[in-house]
């Protein structure tokens, strides 16, 4: 995924997931929000995860 997004690319991505009613102002918000989310993803040290590291919540049917 590219690091630099344009408003037009975000508009296309939004339409693909059904966000078809966003105004230009909304799309600018979505662009900022998506850039912030990508920055957060980059801050996650996922390289420290090994194959056997499980998610924090694993379904345990016997507890229910």
């Amino acid at each position: 995924m590219k690091d630099e997004l344009t408003l037009e690319e975000v508009r296309r991505m939004a339409v693909e997931i059904g966000l078809t009613r966003l105004t230009v102002e909304h799309l600018q918000q979505l662009l900022r929000a998506t850039q912030a989310a990508r920055a957060r993803r980059a801050a996650l040290p996922v390289a420290t995860l090994g194959p056997a590291d499980e998610p924090a919540h694993v379904f345990r049917p016997e507890e229910r």
Binding site: I17, G18, L19, A33, A37, A43, L44, P55, A56, H57
Partner: protein, 476 residues
């Protein structure tokens, strides 16, 4: 008699049980105070004096015939407006849900009703517990009782403001990335995010299922423990509810801190982010005070604050977007700008990134909890800055992310914000006390020792001395 506005739950309980105070007289005094001052504070989104007086009359009759239900019997409280109270709208402070009338009580509301509490109303929140403080919603944002021109924190903003203003001795809020502890910090009150699963979330509008917590805000540590004990407990209808029996949070309150090992996570507010100097000095002074009370205080290290915050936010926005996707498709214009932008951050998070954040969460929690082999509790910052002006969106955006609360939504253990003094401008400072899961009693014990040694709880905002803010013209 003490000014009824500043009675604590524990003090009120003694007076009410001994029939030295009438629940109706108490409720009327607070109703009068709310009517005089909330027009410029906006702590309440929906004020319900008629329900309060009905509850108070019932409590009076029950106490008179010797049927005292416990410490909340006849005591006023309020609920953040994402918590269902049967027959009233749960709006989440949003146009989207302004007519969303709750069919049943949330579990926490049912417990407070059963405890004989006097329900005063629904309290302001940031829209959907994420978007605020906003001026583009059907209701205005709550303001800080210490200075109405300043932010009161959020998202449980009305819960913090109303408690600090002496409108209520206790309120319930929710916390997904710090939303009980933020208003507690900004308003100079006590707020806890209990262990995940200790308090039922049933009937509470979710923001992010795996990070959502329900917790009380009060003016004293003792009241906070009393309130938590009233709302904690297993709920088979909440899939996240812990089946571990809730103990007595107040059991160890007065044992002091002598010999306890306290680890200060100083790098959160000095290296990972640099706190405002007054805030950092306040937390350092608090750690020194605890050492003076006999605790063994040392500095500890955990993962960088930015890693915890990125983990929290990746999970939060992914789960939050899943909840809001339908409305964002159909009614994006009906959200305020803050909520819309913050929720849309989850739109394009890849499934692998969400899963990896939850895998990282386990590692962060495991390594954080391992620190407790050498300490009993940890202390760190809550907010990194004193409250900024509420009408300065740049300052709001700047300070919104400058906090050390989200790590403990990631790790899941108890985290409590307690007042730690005041800035030179007279605005509250605060620190956090953090435990490993299910050690609420120990967290409260440390907080109580600090509160009793400093008595920041004895200071109250002077509402009548402040000029009112500009009138609210509405946005809906």
């Amino acid at each position: 008699m003490t000014d009824l506005a500043w009675l604590t739950v524990a003090e009120a309980a003694g007076l009410l049980r001994g029939r030295k105070l009438s629940p109706v007289e108490y409720a009327r005094a607070l109703i009068d105070r709310i009517e005089r001052h909330d027009g410029t504070l906006n702590g309440f989104l929906r004020f319900t004096p008629e329900i309060a007086l009905e509850d108070a009359r019932r409590a009076e009759a029950e106490i008179a015939r010797g049927a005292w239900r416990g410490p909340l019997h006849g005591v006023p409280y309020g609920l953040k407006d994402i918590i269902d109270y049967a027959g009233l709208p749960t709006t989440a402070h949003s146009k989207i849900l302004k007519d969303n009338v709750a069919a049943a009580d949330a579990q926490v509301a049912a417990k407070l009703k059963a405890a004989g509490g006097v329900f005063m109303g629904k309290l302001s929140t940031h829209e959907f517990a994420i978007g605020g403080p906003s001026f583009d919603l059907p209701w205005p944002p709550a303001r800080n009782p210490w200075n109405r021109d300043h932010f009161c924190g959020g998202s449980s903003s009305g819960s913090g403001a109303a408690t600090a203003a002496g409108f209520l001795p206790a309120a319930i809020g929710t916390d997904t990335g710090g939303s009980v502890r933020n208003p507690a910090s900004m308003c100079g009150v006590v707020g806890i995010k209990p262990t995940y699963g200790l308090v039922s979330r049933r009937g509470v509008l979710p923001l992010a299922f795996s990070l959502d917590h329900v917790g009380p805000l009060t003016r004293t540590v003792r009241d906070n423990a009393l309130m938590l004990d009233l709302i904690a407990g297993v709920d088979p209808l909440d899939p996240g509810s812990s089946d571990r029996a809730a103990g007595s949070s107040a059991a160890e309150l007065d044992r002091g801190v002598k010999g306890l090992r306290i680890g200060v996570i100083r790098h959160f507010y000095t290296r990972d982010m640099q706190a405002d100097p007054e805030m950092a000095a306040g937390i350092d002074a608090a750690a020194k005070k605890l050492a003076g009370l006999g605790a063994k205080v040392s500095e500890i290290e955990t993962a960088p604050l930015g890693v915890y915050n990125a983990c929290n936010r990746t999970i939060l926005t992914s789960e939050g977007f899943a909840i809001h996707e339908k409305w964002l498709r159909e009614r994006p214009q009906d959200y305020g700008a803050f909520a819309r932008e913050r929720l849309m951050a989850g739109a394009f998070v890849r499934a692998a990134d969400y899963v990896n954040a939850t895998r990282l969460r386990r590692k962060l929690a495991d390594s954080f909890h391992a620190l407790f082999s050498g300490i009993d509790v940890a202390v760190t910052a809550s907010s990194l800055d004193p409250p900024c002006r509420i009408d300065d969106p740049h300052a709001i955006e700047h300070t919104y992310a400058r906090q050390a609360r989200a790590p403990f939504n990631v790790t899941g253990g108890p985290a409590l914000s307690v007042p730690a003094g005041f800035s030179k401008a007279g605005l509250p400072l605060a620190m956090q006390i953090v435990g490993k899961p299910f050690t609420e009693a120990l967290v409260y014990r440390v907080a109580q020792a600090y509160e009793q040694a400093t008595r920041w709880d004895a200071r109250h905002p002077a509402l009548s001395n402040q000029a009112p803010p500009r009138p609210w013209k509405g946005a809906a």
